[in-house]
């Protein structure tokens, strides 16, 4: 199969799966009767949002590298605004905030587009890391200075730097895998998001023992083990779209599922700290952009570097 045929086969598979999910949602809703049933309504809202998200990703794939980079740049934008909305910035931070949205995000994604690995991998952790506090210090407002700087750095690392590693997968020159970078992105996103969904499903079905009641009431051992195991099986089954053998694909999927799980946990801790349940309400039924991307954010950079270390000569 060519990369094109593989991509089409993959999206048809996803569409078939979502059709099945929508049908199940419809049956559940009909069985529950006409009245409102929050659990089922939320499930259906989530499935509907998945259709939209898959359609957006498909459109970006059709547009190719530029499309995917623009899609993730906008995802970074939405995620960063959700993150910064919950931080305690002061009026003196205004210029620094504007620079984050209007300079750092475009610059980072342009560097990815330019495939300039030597710069996009250090632009935020080195240059912005040092320049941002300089801009802020020059404004002279020292109230909670360290907190403000640290929160902004965190926001940029999580929402821009880490997330930009998803489209950055396109820049990896893997021998024998030329022109198939989009499929590697599909593998990452599919495994991580399925792991999330499957943990949710296993948790709803069997969940009993809570893993971290202080952080998230919905994460259970049963859901975690069931979801991660299913994601590993899915990852192995998707080996044909990757440069990996089935066993390697399974191992990668395990890494992705674990990091995704802990990403969700860390971001839950941040939400708890700020006293909110969701990051926003951009995605119907899911919450905000970061509620959907927390697991991707934590798994993408490490996946990127594992692939780069072992598969790029």
């Amino acid at each position: 199969m060519t990369a094109r045929e593989q991509t089409i086969a993959l999206f048809l598979g996803i569409a078939a799966f979502l059709t099945l999910a929508s049908a199940i949602g419809l049956v559940l809703k009909r069985r529950a009767g006409a009245g409102p049933s929050p659990g089922i309504d939320n499930l259906n809202a989530r499935i509907k949002a998945w259709w939209v998200m898959v359609a957006l990703i498909a459109a970006a794939f059709v547009a190719g590298k530029a499309g995917v980079i623009i899609l993730f740049a906008f995802a970074s934008f939405a995620a960063l605004r959700e993150f910064l909305t919950l931080t305690d910035t002061r009026r003196a931070d205004h210029r620094a905030l504007a620079a984050m949205f209007f300079v750092v995000i475009p610059a980072q994604y342009w560097l990815v587009y330019d495939e300039w690995y030597g710069l996009y991998s250090i632009f935020i952790p080195v240059y912005v890391f040092l320049l941002l506090p300089i801009i802020m210090a020059l404004r002279g407002d020292t109230t909670r200075f360290m907190e403000r700087v640290a929160e902004m750095q965190w926001g940029l690392m999580v929402c821009v730097f880490c997330l930009s590693h998803v489209p950055a997968l396109l820049t990896l020159p893997i021998p024998g895998y030329e022109g198939r970078g989009l499929l590697l992105i599909a593998f990452l996103v599919l495994v991580v998001q399925s792991s999330d969904v499957l943990q949710y499903v296993w948790g709803k079905l069997l969940g009993r023992r809570k893993i971290a009641p202080a952080l998230s009431p919905s994460k259970t051992w049963e859901g975690f083990v069931g979801g991660a195991a299913s994601a590993v099986l899915l990852g192995a089954a998707l080996w044909w779209i990757t440069p990996f053998t089935p066993l390697q694909a399974a191992a990668m999927a395990l890494v992705l599922a674990l990091l995704g799980f802990f990403g969700g946990l860390v971001m839950s801790a941040v939400k708890r700290d700020r006293g909110v349940k969701d990051w926003g309400r951009m995605i119907e039924g899911h919450g905000g952009m970061l509620d959907r991307l927390d697991s991707v954010v934590f798994s993408a950079p490490i996946f990127f570097h594992l692939v780069r270390y072992w598969w790029v000569p």
Partner: protein, 223 residues
């Protein structure tokens, strides 16, 4: 005709811009949108405040909802005159009692009588302290006494002062929220100060993010 078209276009552009920059959504906590004449009274920290309220109102209500604003600001130049009169259809009030020819409360009552709703900022001026609410001016009380049958809806606009602080030109696209509380009316024999304190407290109560503990009584937003 051209003017009308330009105004419609400008209204579309202004609400579209507000949505893109702030991702604003209306959060109807204590009431639902209604075509009845109402007074929306809100905190005031930014020039964009009434634009946000206006943006989250359903389009049909938007047309009949007029901001009450200072004439000195909205008549200062041609652009503002166009925006104030043709786009927002603002009810312009001469803030200086010495020069004004008609009573603001009478004009507001007339507008309500004609089936229009009003947006009012009882703090009287923009609060740039970044925290809490200023004391309410008495206009809200006088209009409530003149038209006791009109619902007074408290509104809290969250975060807009961070999007565009005083003196900055470039907005930072943080998320904003417009929360509508349960309507109030002037109580039987309620004193002016008691009523204004109650109205102010209703806005302060909305300043706590839904699902979190209410911020302290002084009206501090989350620090």
């Amino acid at each position: 005709m051209i003017r009308r078209f330009a105004a419609t276009l400008a209204a579309f552009a202004v609400t579209g811009f507000a949505r893109v920059v702030t991702g604003v959504r209306g959060n109807w906590i204590g009431c639902t949108p209604s075509p009845e004449p109402r007074i929306y009274f809100a905190n005031h920290a930014s020039h964009g405040d009434f634009v946000l309220i206006w943006t989250v109102l359903p389009p049909a209500l938007r047309r009949q909802t007029r901001p009450v604003a200072g004439a000195d600001y909205w008549q200062a130049d041609r652009v503002r005159r166009f925006l104030g009169r043709d786009v927002f259809d603002a009810l312009l009030i001469d803030r200086d009692p010495a020069t004004r020819t008609n009573d603001p409360v009478t004009r507001m009552a007339e507008a309500l009588g004609a089936g229009q709703s009003l947006i009012l900022f009882p703090e009287g001026t923009r609060n740039t302290s970044g925290a809490g609410l200023l004391p309410f001016k008495s206009g809200l009380y006088h209009i409530a006494r003149t038209r006791p049958e009109v619902d007074l809806v408290p509104v809290y606009i969250d975060n807009l002062s961070r999007v565009l602080p005083k003196g900055e030109v470039l907005p930072v696209p943080l998320l904003c929220d417009v929360r509508f509380g349960a309507p109030l009316r002037l109580g039987e024999g309620e004193e002016k100060d008691a009523f204004l304190a109650r109205a102010r407290a209703a806005v302060v109560a909305l300043s706590a993010k839904p699902g979190t503990a209410v911020a302290d009584g002084a009206g501090e937003a989350r620090p």
